[in-house]
Symmetry: C2
Subunit: 605 residues, 2 copies
């Protein structure tokens, strides 16, 4: 990317010294780290009703007790994370907690499931955000995948620009969404309070109904639990808060959990009171806002803020994913490139991978929130479970004050989230759940393999005990295709670096070869020209054979092969030159003690 364009898109670079100033106060932090959790109310309660509706409209009244259970779980899990924040003020993501308390393998499993979770969160949130838009403007429904992809691309650009600016851009809409949902709830409550009529349930075909089993209720509960996804974001990013980091993060977490619980309860109760049934093409929040606020500007405001906060929710992952992958990279489990800060104090490589994979998910699942939920719940809840079991182990190990009480809280959280994993894993295995089940072990294996390579390498490159190579009168071979300025330049360079220069050409056409030999005596009589036969018209094979032969008789540990290279003025002109030089260099790379040098000759336009 040309530098000017990059600067325009992602801003001027920030100096390392500016890093401290990038820390966030609680109000913008709530906007940036809690938007994932808070935005989850846009699809969590709807998921509950989608499953209960399978058993008919009567079963829908169960949504209120299910919502109570989910709200209780929000309380348990956020208490658990509050404990984590204070135990790990330097940032206690599931990876750190599980690795420290349960061991490397569970830690890596947590890391893998978090990475998966982040990717799916982006896809789910963007899909749900686009659904908020297409609920208001059904004409856009067929374009939902493209709109989703554009949103992810937008998030990638915003995040490559850096953290604080992101928070500043997005602080307003978060509070706007919270206001909007409370407005919907207030209008709905007033409607009911005044005893105004509500519409009847739409008629349903009783023959298509499933029986109301415990499993169905469990599935509704498990899918509804996605309303609390994102709750862990604060714990992962404690260091992004202004000091005192742990205290500020903890307070932000409590705010978030309260807002979340009230919204889940309120939206569920009102959906039930207004006899709303989930349907394709319009979200539950859109239906409810339409019923309570009418289809005017207020309604459009709620839909717009829903879309924006869901994009903010997706944006949370742009904080978490690169930070986690840099943590993994620093521990040697991911390629080193992920460990380095890009030039806007963010982890650019992580941002690009996150965006790419979630775009693929949007395409594969045709931008449908409901189909993405199994992947989502598995990715997120596996890491919840591991993190909370890790905390249980920690309490029982350290035995600090009130440790039994703390351990009990984490244990309850762990058991309930494990239940969610089991139910979703079993009942929705075929609907995409298997992907997560397959991807997590594959990622863990990859982590181990990468680390093994780095460990082996560190050992191999240690300077102690190394006998430096000897060069002596090391042989230099110049590859020649014809007599031109590029060759003259290459020969000049070769003579300067070694007294032992040979030129090499392959005879593909006897006329050209004879012509070359004639001109050679005129222009480079001091360098011997070796002509190689090539009965099979291959240029590369004879050269490699000759080099391998010289290997046996060379003086010193290195041998240099010089390739004259024309550098055209325009990029497309590179396509017009034989790629032979590239192939020769690639072949030489895998032969020890060979140094390949291109001597550039720059062409005009």
């Amino acid at each position: 990317m040309p530098l000017a364009f990059k600067r325009l898109l992602i801003g001027t670079p920030l100096a390392t010294a500016q890093a401290k100033h990038e820390r966030l106060a609680k109000i913008p932090a709530l906007a940036i780290f809690c938007s994932d959790a808070i935005s989850s109310v846009a699809y969590g309660p709807e998921e509950v009703r989608i499953f209960l509706a399978l058993a008919g409209t009567a079963a829908l009244s169960l949504s209120v007790p299910v919502a109570v259970a989910i709200t209780l779980l929000i309380g348990v899990v956020s208490t658990s994370y509050w404990q984590t924040i204070h135990a790990y003020p330097s940032g206690g993501g599931a990876y750190t907690v599980a690795r420290e308390n349960l061991g490397t393998l569970p830690g890596l499993m947590a890391g893998a499931s978090l990475l998966v979770g982040y990717v799916v969160t982006v896809a789910v949130s963007v899909a749900a955000g686009v659904a908020a838009l297409t609920s208001a403007f059904p004409v856009l429904y067929p374009a939902r995948v493209w709109i989703g992809i554009s949103c992810v691309a937008f998030l990638a650009v915003v995040n490559l620009r850096g953290l604080r600016e992101t928070a500043r851009i997005f602080a307003v809409p978060t509070y706007w969404f919270i206001t909007g949902i409370f407005l919907v709830m207030a209008a709905g409550a007033a409607h009911l309070w005044r005893g105004e009529p509500v519409p009847d349930f739409p008629p349903m075909d009783p023959s298509g109904l499933a029986p109301l089993t415990t499993l169905l209720v469990l599935r509704a509960f498990s899918s509804g639990c996605t309303a609390m996804t994102g709750i862990e974001a604060v714990a992962n990013c404690v260091q992004a808060f202004k000091p005192p980091e742990a205290k500020n993060a903890g307070i932000t977490l409590v705010w978030m959990a309260s807002i979340l619980g009230i919204m889940v309860m309120g939206l569920t109760y009102l959906s039930d009171a207004f006899h709303l049934v989930p349907r394709v093409g319009e979200t539950l929040v859109s239906q409810l806002a339409g019923q309570t606020l009418g289809r005017g500007w207020l309604y459009l405001g709620v839909q717009a803020s829903t879309m924006v906060i869901l994009l903010l929710g997706a944006n949370t992952c742009y904080g978490g994913f690169p930070m986690l992958s840099s943590l993994l990279a620093k521990d040697g489990y991911l390629p080193r490139q992920f460990a380095s800060l890009g030039d806007r104090l963010v982890y650019s490589n992580g941002i690009l991978i996150l965006s790419g994979v979630s775009m693929m998910l949007l395409v594969a699942f045709q931008g449908d929130t409901h189909s993405l939920i199994p992947l989502y719940a598995l990715g997120v809840f596996i890491s919840f479970t591991l993190s909370q079991f890790g905390m249980v182990v920690r309490w029982t190990r350290l035995r600090q004050r009130h440790w039994r009480h703390h351990a009990a809280v984490n244990l309850i959280g762990a058991l309930v989230t494990a239940t969610v994993v089991a139910v979703v894993g079993f009942t929705r295995f075929a609907e995409g759940g298997w992907m997560v089940i397959v991807v997590i072990p594959v990622l863990v294996l990859m982590f181990y393999t990468i680390r093994r390579h780095y460990v082996a390498m560190t050992r191999q490159i240690d300077v102690y005990g190394y006998r430096p190579p000897k060069l002596g009168r090391h042989p230099v071979v110049v590859l020649v295709g014809g007599m031109n300025r590029g060759v003259i330049a290459a020969l000049t360079y070769a003579r300067a670096i070694s007294p032992n220069v040979t030129a090499l050409t392959v005879d593909l056409d006897s006329t050209s070869t004879a012509r070359l030999q004639m001109r050679w005596d005129e222009w480079a009589p001091d360098v011997p020209l070796v002509v190689l036969d090539s009965p099979y018209r291959s240029v590369i094979q004879p050269i490699l054979q000759y080099i391998d032969q010289m290997e046996k008789q060379r003086d010193g540990d290195y041998m240099t092969i010089i390739l004259p290279e024309f550098v055209p003025a325009r990029w497309w002109q590179h396509l017009l030159h034989n790629q032979t030089a590239l192939l020769i260099k690639a072949a030489l790379l895998f032969r020890r003690g060979k140094v390949a040098i291109s001597i550039p000759y720059h062409l005009g336009s």
Copy 2:
């Protein structure tokens, strides 16, 4: 591709000396060069009936006079090409004939339209071949695009193996197809001769019928002319015949034209007599074979041979396309890579491009022969027209014996083929015809641009008047990230090639930098280590700035930058190392007088 796998797939290399032995006798030459034309009877007559049927069953009887016109045109065009073969015994493709007689621009237009024609021929022939298969086994119809793509892939592999073997593989089925079609015609004639009953026309909805206008008949004729596509193949490849090349090629052409004419007439007459109407899902040849031979083994034999000869027809282009692109490349209008023979005496790059683009066409047009016809007729008939006008000019210029007579034959051919181009171009512009109209000028522009680059380059690299660069005590800079064996090896190499060595490191982390400086004094006290600041954490920018600064004070025309590089044992491990070296090299490539050298340090597993 690993070499062993490549050898298994495309065979061992052939020596240049074997080239003469690859020449073809008339019988295998008919199989390989005429299969395109002969196989065209599988769709040409059907195209006529598709258009006439638009005006109802009564209009279908016009197919016989239209077929007579097409057969006459086959006579004219093949006479024209017979003249071309004798005028250009070294191979007279439309490109050569048009370029020599009409000028460069018409020549390049002919070349471009031929390239397009080859690509579309592969797509059309494969689509029609797959249609022969799915006519017999309708269950395969939904998989037709994939079957088509597999067929193209198969052809690519066969052709990468080389020419003569291709002829040997395919000689039998061509004669089998000819036999099969003659069998169908004989059985049909016998059926009619014995006065046995034929089925009635299927009923047609008269409200959907188009009026029978002259334009409709012209469209039927134009599309039916695709029955003669491929007739030029012999003229393009005269040099592939055994000596006397022109005579053998001419005789082969006459055979081909006769077989073609008989088949077009016979199939059209019988389709009419048997009241056949074209329909989606079953080809006309399949219907006719079913009616005359019954749906037994004979029928399947005809279908199989139809499919195989159509693949052979596509295969013709694998002779023509690479040969034409190598001709264009030798004249400097295409990248040089196209000019070189692969290691099986074939032009590998051309084969790969041809296959790729025709696969894309198959996907884009969903493997439907009829939709591809406009592209096809335009690509092929533009080159026919240019080639024949070229011959007219040639006769009037040379004024050899009977030149008026010869010129008249070519002129008639040129006018009729120009009519086909005009009718197809106007009436089917929207149905894909525009692609050809757009692509041909784009290709011609590309040809000119490429040649301009090569001409400019040849001038620029000429050795006369060149002042060779001076190196003197040229500066060598070793880029250092830490102290390890790779760096020691790089320093050793640097010391060997110049007395003027500096080491350069970028300070990203003060602890590591301090550690490096400490170890530096122990391991390389003779080389000065320059530490660059990087307030924006970029590694590349400070290095480039330093190098640009040194530029001003350097001694000699070159400056060498050495990058220590770890070469991992496995390919995937390359992904685990910072790609910084690659980025630095890319940046240096565009700076004059900079030589970048990677000194490899090979890692174990």
